[in-house]
C-alpha cells in the first residue's frame, strides 16, 4: 500500500513538467456558509458563535414572518428557543461553547415583550390610560379572593392604588 503520492505522477497526469499547483488560492467570495456546505461539517462540530448567529437570524426572520404581538409569533419564538436549548444541552461536554449557547438562550428569553403582546395579555387596548393599566396589573397580581375588595376600592376612589 502506498502511503504517499508521488508528485511526479501528478506532473505526468497533468501533461506538464512544471511543478503542479499543490495549493490553490482561497476562492473569491468564500464565506462560512459556503465553507460548511463544501466541507460537510458535522452539525455537532459547528462552532458555537456560528450557531448563535443562525439562531439570531432565524429569530429575526420570525418577527418578519408573523404579525407583531400575535400569538403565532409568541408560539414560534418559544418553539425556536426550545429547539436551540436542545442544541445547547447537547454541547455540555464543551464548557465554553455550552456557556455561549446558554447565554444566547437566556438573552432570547429576556427579550422585552412586544408592546402589542403586552397589551393583549393585560386585556387592554393601546390607548388605555395609565390608571386602568395599573389596575389591570394589580388585578393580575392579586389572589382571586381579594378581587372584589379591589374593585370596591376602585369604585370609591379615583386615586391609583
Amino acid at each position: 500500500m502506498r502511503d504517499s503520492l508521488d508528485v511526479s505522477c501528478l506532473c505526468h497526469v497533468a501533461g506538464s513538467d512544471a511543478s503542479p499547483p499543490l495549493f490553490r488560492p482561497p476562492l473569491a467570495g468564500l464565506n462560512k456558509k459556503y465553507a460548511d456546505d463544501v466541507l460537510m461539517m458535522e452539525q455537532e462540530d459547528m462552532p458555537a458563535d456560528y450557531l448563535v448567529k443562525c439562531f439570531g437570524d432565524e429569530f429575526q426572520e420570525l418577527s418578519r414572518r408573523h404579525a407583531a404581538g400575535s400569538e403565532e409569533l409568541s408560539a414560534a419564538k418559544s418553539r425556536l428557543i426550545d429547539q436551540f436549548e436542545i442544541i445547547a444541552t447537547s454541547r455540555r461536554d464543551d464548557a465554553v461553547a455550552h456557556a455561549q449557547l446558554q447565554e444566547a438562550v437566556l438573552q432570547a428569553r429576556r427579550e422585552p415583550m412586544d408592546p402589542a403582546e403586552a397589551y393583549r395579555v393585560l386585556g387592554a387596548a393601546a390607548d388605555t390610560d395609565d390608571f386602568t393599566l395599573q389596575t389591570s396589573v394589580h388585578h393580575l397580581s392579586q389572589p382571586t379572593r381579594r378581587r372584589p375588595l379591589t374593585v370596591l376600592i376602585l369604585n370609591r376612589s379615583s386615586q391609583p392604588l
Partner: protein, 107 residues
C-alpha cells in the same frame, strides 16, 4: 468419564427486527445475535457508552430508545424506565437533536 457439553438453550428472537433495531444494538456495542440477551446487558452497554463517550450520548440514547421500542424479551419496562430517567436529566435523543438543527436552515 466422558463429559458431553450441551448448548445452553436460547430464546430465539421473535419475528424479524427492523434495521433501526439492529443498528441500535450495533451502536451500543452489542453483537448481532439471533437470540435475546438480558435487558441488563443493554442497560450496561448504554451506561458504559454514555460514560466514556459523553460527546455522543444522544446517539446512544437514540439507540436505547430504538432498542426499547422493539424489545421482545423480558425487561422492556426496565429499558423504558432507564430511557425516561435519562431524558429527565435533560438528555435528548439524536432524533430530537436532528429536529432541533432542522429548525435552523443555516445549521
Amino acid at each position: 468419564m466422558h463429559l458431553t457439553t450441551k448448548p445452553v438453550p436460547r430464546m430465539q428472537l421473535a419475528g424479524d427486527k427492523s434495521a433501526a433495531f439492529e443498528l441500535a444494538r450495533t451502536t451500543l456495542g452489542l453483537n448481532p445475535v439471533g437470540f435475546t440477551v438480558p435487558a441488563a446487558y443493554v442497560s450496561f452497554a448504554y451506561r458504559m457508552q454514555a460514560r466514556f463517550d459523553g460527546k455522543h450520548v444522544a446517539r446512544y440514547l437514540q439507540a436505547l430508545s430504538d432498542t426499547a421500542a422493539e424489545w421482545s424479551g423480558v425487561g422492556q419496562e426496565d429499558l423504558q424506565i432507564l430511557l425516561v430517567q435519562e431524558q429527565s436529566k435533560g438528555l435528548n435523543t439524536q432524533k430530537a437533536l436532528d429536529d432541533a438543527y432542522e429548525a435552523f436552515p443555516g445549521a
